[in-house]
Symmetry: D2
Amino acid sequence: MDRAALNAFLDREFPQIAGQIRVEALDQALVARLIVGPQHLRPGGTVSGPAIFALADVAIYLAILARIGEVALAVTTNASVDFMRKPQAGRDLLADCRILKLGRTLAVGECLIRSDGGSDIVARCSMTYSIPPKRA
Amino acid sequence: MDRAALNAFLDREFPQIAGQIRVEALDQALVARLIVGPQHLRPGGTVSGPAIFALADVAIYLAILARIGEVALAVTTNASVDFMRKPQAGRDLLADCRILKLGRTLAVGECLIRSDGGSDIVARCSMTYSIPPKRA
Amino acid sequence: MDRAALNAFLDREFPQIAGQIRVEALDQALVARLIVGPQHLRPGGTVSGPAIFALADVAIYLAILARIGEVALAVTTNASVDFMRKPQAGRDLLADCRILKLGRTLAVGECLIRSDGGSDIVARCSMTYSIPPKRA
Amino acid sequence: MDRAALNAFLDREFPQIAGQIRVEALDQALVARLIVGPQHLRPGGTVSGPAIFALADVAIYLAILARIGEVALAVTTNASVDFMRKPQAGRDLLADCRILKLGRTLAVGECLIRSDGGSDIVARCSMTYSIPPKRA
């Protein structure tokens, strides 16, 4: 799936998320943007942990779909996140993802998250997804 | 802080969350409830990973505050989550938390999450929080 | 498999480890002991991180075998460890394990590790194992 | 500290490890080698999980020292590891590390581990270290 197909998939399957998260670029890596809005903020104007988690989860999932095609039933089985710095106020977040393993039943990916326009890493996430067996 | 004080803290500091997450019980462990609504669901009616993450993050944070009092600036530095089973459709989620370490600068807690009325574990989460130094 | 069978399995399949790690108790939970020796220590007399990791990995693996029988080919796919306190010098370590999920292809367990005779938690570990499909 | 200084540090402070793990290269990233011997192997000739963990832990620790100088008392507080593929039999392992955060009290690094001569990733590890306050 290419970038347009991934965004169309988001629009169709995850309409609540599609307005918030978009695929920006796709080559070896996939870059996804969280369009930060009031619903993502904590007191003080910083993006919440769950919003960062949601970005990572969707972005790595899409990076897997980019490689294996639409598998709407793949599920996250494990996530590990290091929150390292406060995101910059008033900026979107960008997640830079790559797939480390694409096995028959498990896929593993990771991403680094930065504020748009910044170089410091806000968070690091790795996630494992269970891929359902192919239907005959 | 007791159960009422923690819920009042949520109402005051996290108004967007206060209607969704409540402290149910507090003794050795803290039990928090996610009042599941449409905004937490994925296609198929299952509670989303980010909603589960948010419940764990808030619940363990409150379990720390229950022990050390209001520290609004404690921040999550690390999270590890195993998603093990689909939550039951149409049920709230309950997070059962305990604090494993309460150090001078780091606190570590964990929780097990189940569907209300169920015994199977939906997710296991452990989280580390950085506690800011006391002001003089 | 009961306690004796698990220790016999260690003796037979993991002879390098069998003299260092033993199953102490097995009911709902499994308790394993690391018989601490010079090879486990870091300068200062504290047990090394890799030795703690090894104890957790073997102990949770054995807790799975206790439930599903000998599956020598199950492999660890993910591990998350929080190191919380220095172990007490000159004491063995005890790992208290339980299985949280025993699926068809994945098993998840966790353990808390303490110094023998102590109540403080030294480390918390959760691990996922991939279980090979049954041979016909 | 440069590569020679890091290897000298290993020789002096961690003599049990110094013969097994060496710093190979150091620029933006640090590359460390596990000289695989019989003590690292599991039945079947594969490198054990604890040996992979030990390589990651030492390598990321050295990558931090390379930046902040000798801090022998920094301790690992959290580790997350994804084991993705069997290492190739009879090959050393190489860990490619980078530091993601170097704060006043916490440092976070990650590494990817491959078999020497291979391109597939055997394991991914991220680790957090607590840095003791500077003495006056």
